[in-house]
């Protein structure tokens, strides 16, 4: 079982090297930008980098968790925008906003449950199941809410704190990202359930044959991933006072995948962890910050990110080759 010991030193060595490559690229970019761009190496800019990747990073922790279990969750952005928009929408009926957020969390957990059942029980390949469900979730939201942009009620103290507050000088959005990442890291590494996720991702058939409850494990992954997406949505609402459901049409879900794959979590499952997500997030954060300072257009930024994603997928294919075992046990 990869990740649990020294069962496969050769692959472990390669994995480490991909993460090291990503960290090395980040360091090089950081040094180049620090030397060439004014104010890049300032405390404010470094906090800005972290703040700007907190939503992306939070989503990537959820996506990473699903990918480790050999799944993929393309519903995350749809769930994020529709879940939060639902909370704001019902709060306009006079329901207390905090209660409305709890209702939104219940809704997204139900969507995650449905996605999990489609993947684990109905055995629809995750990429198709989540693509279709993402579209349905967003489409339903689009019918219910007249506007694409929904503003949270003003004067919600805790929401303002999420957007503008800080702990020991670190913005709350970064603190929440850190907390989600730390909890997920502990969960994956220290709990029995976390180990079962790796086992399921490594070889679902073998895991099922040896008596592991693979279906409940997969369902739980999608529920947790939906709740993490919702958390990211709350951070966003705190930061910009509202939620823009048109984000579903943006490249955000691909950016999330970019972070996960770039960080070194193989799409064939069973390997990697939160550390990889953080490595990928930091690289994308530095890259985006530098490109913004250099005044690159949005389209060229997307082009550069897409080329990097393609490169990362190619490296993933080389590092984690499809052998007879992985072919037999299926792919996402």
């Amino acid at each position: 079982m990869p990740g649990s010991g020294k069962s496969d030193d050769r692959r472990l060595g390669f994995k480490a090297s991909q993460e090291v490559v990503v960290v090395a690229i980040s360091v090089v970019m950081f040094l180049v930008f620090s030397a060439t761009l004014n104010n890049f190496l300032s405390q404010g800019n470094i906090i800005a980098i972290l703040k700007n990747v907190s939503i992306l990073g939070t989503l990537a922790v959820g996506m990473g968790f699903v990918v480790v279990g050999r799944g993929i969750d393309l519903t995350m952005v749809a769930v994020m925008v529709v879940g939060v928009a639902f909370s704001i929408w019902i709060s306009t009926w006079g329901i207390d906003f905090t209660l409305a957020v709890i209702c939104g969390a219940i809704l997204v957990a139900a969507i995650g449950l449905f996605t999990g059942v489609m993947v684990a029980v109905a055995e629809v390949p995750p990429i198709f199941a989540t693509l279709a469900i993402a579209s349905s979730v967003y489409g339903s939201g689009r019918i219910v809410f007249a506007s694409d942009v929904l503003y949270a009620p003003p004067d919600i103290a805790w929401l303002k704190f999420v957007g503008n507050g800080s702990v020991l000088g670190i913005p709350m959005s970064v603190v929440i990202f850190g907390a989600v990442a730390a909890l997920m890291g502990l969960f994956l590494r220290k709990t029995r359930f976390g180990r079962l996720v790796y086992a399921t991702g490594d070889n679902p058939n073998a895991a099922r044959t040896t008596g592991l409850p693979t279906r409940p494990i997969i369902v739980t992954q999608y529920v947790i991933s939906a709740l993490i997406a919702f958390t990211a949505g709350i951070i966003m609402t705190g930061l910009v006072t509202g939620i823009d459901t048109r984000l579903y049409n943006s490249s955000l879900i691909y950016d999330v995948l970019l972070v996960v794959v770039l960080g070194g979590i193989g799409l064939s499952g069973g390997q990697g962890g939160v550390r990889n997500v953080i490595a990928g997030t930091i690289l994308v954060g530095i890259l985006t910050n530098g490109m913004t300072i250099l005044n690159f257009s949005y389209t060229s930024q997307n082009l550069i990110k897409s080329v990097i994603l393609l490169g990362a997928l190619a490296i993933d294919a080389i590092i984690n080759p499809r052998d007879e075992q992985t072919s037999q046990s299926g792919d996402i």
């Binding site: 004014n38 007249a146 506007s147 503003y151 910009v240 823009d244 048109r246 049409n249 913004t292 389209t299």
Partner: protein
């Protein structure tokens, strides 16, 4: 006796005249040209292909047009591609195949529908473009004078950022979608102001793609590079609240002036009141919708006029809205329009 007879005759004549007048008033007096107008528009078919119906301006337009259609008996169908350009192309192709009397279109950019608009007119369908123009000029355009909008917004920043008390001459242009007509033409207006005020420094012109979180991220990064930033101008109030949030988080609300434009929805006024935005150049979507409604009537009334034979343009009014007038008709809510 003679006098008596004359009085009797005069009285009878007066009664007769009164009778005639009563008969005349009992008949319906038609307003001149009304019957022809009703005949002209009744039963006609209009198809609207928007960018997305999730935007405040689109909701306002369609509410106005639907009321107009219901009153005068033509049909209005909305084919919403929901921000997806490919779906928009399919919607346009479908609309052309159905041969309606009029297609109303809000172009996502200047090129995508250019050929389709020519096809529509070649097929005899009149085309009204709203707010966003295509490279192809059609029967009519109703919407903003975007060059003027760019001039107004950058002009506002020039006022704030070139004076002796200005913190700096540094300004930012947070664009929308770079290939959109609004962006392209606004840029022309912006350049005119920059040319007239060479001391103004455009330190960043990044597209936020109409997304508030993207606007927030760009602003946060730019503020780190230019802590003495003086002004930001954008293209849609719902996106620029993100810039406002970044400025507020940096505690620079008194220093950085944020100017944008918008459809005049109440949410924009709220953003001014809570200090996220300073000035919105409001193009009042319900008023714009009414102007377009008159253009719909005009185009439907002349079926014998060949599509594309006459080309008209109508720029709607623009109101400068700040804290002093962020009330009343400058801040409509959807329920006000119904």
């Amino acid at each position: 006796m003679k006098i008596f007879k004359k009085c009797l005759l005069a009285g009878m004549a007066a009664l007769a005249l009164l009778g005639v007048a009563q008969v005349a008033s009992a008949q319906e007096t038609d307003q001149v040209g009304r019957a022809a107008y009703l005949d002209g528009v009744k039963g006609k078919k209009v198809i609207f292909v928007p960018i997305s119906q999730g935007m405040d301006l689109n909701q306002a337009w369609v509410m106005v047009w639907q009321r107009h259609a219901a009153r005068y008996g033509f049909t209005l169908e909305v084919r919403d591609p929901n921000g997806d350009t490919n779906a928009g192309i399919r919607a346009m192709q479908g609309a052309i195949a159905e041969k309606p009397d009029l297609i109303i279109v809000q172009n996502p950019d200047v090129q995508t529908y250019a050929r389709l608009l020519k096809q529509a007119q070649a097929a005899g369908i009149k085309v009204l473009q709203v707010n966003m123009q295509s490279a192809t000029q059609t029967d009519s355009y109703v919407g903003n004078d975007w060059i003027e909008m760019g001039r107004l917004e950058m002009g506002e920043l020039a006022k704030h950022c070139t004076g002796p008390n200005a913190v700096s001459h540094k300004v930012v242009w947070l664009a929308g979608v770079q290939t959109g007509a609004a962006n392209i033409y606004m840029r022309t207006g912006i350049d005119k102001v920059l040319k007239a005020n060479p001391e103004l420094q455009l330190v960043s012109d990044q597209p936020a793609d109409y997304i508030s979180e993207k606007a927030r991220q760009i602003t946060e990064t730019v503020l780190q590079q230019h802590p003495d930033l003086c002004g930001i101008m954008g293209i849609w109030d719902n996106a620029e609240v993100g810039a406002g949030a970044a400025v507020a988080a940096a505690g620079k609300q008194d220093q950085v002036t944020i100017v944008t434009n918008g459809a005049g929805a109440a949410t924009g006024c709220e953003s001014i009141k809570n200090g996220l935005l300073d000035v919105i150049f409001n193009f009042n979507a319900p008023v714009q919708g009414e102007i377009a409604a008159q253009q719909i009537s005009e185009l439907l009334q002349h079926p014998d006029r060949k599509a594309g034979s006459e080309k008209t343009i109508f720029f709607g009014p623009i109101t400068r809205v700040d804290k002093t007038n962020a009330t009343g008709r400058n801040c409509w809510k959807p329920e006000d329009i119904k």
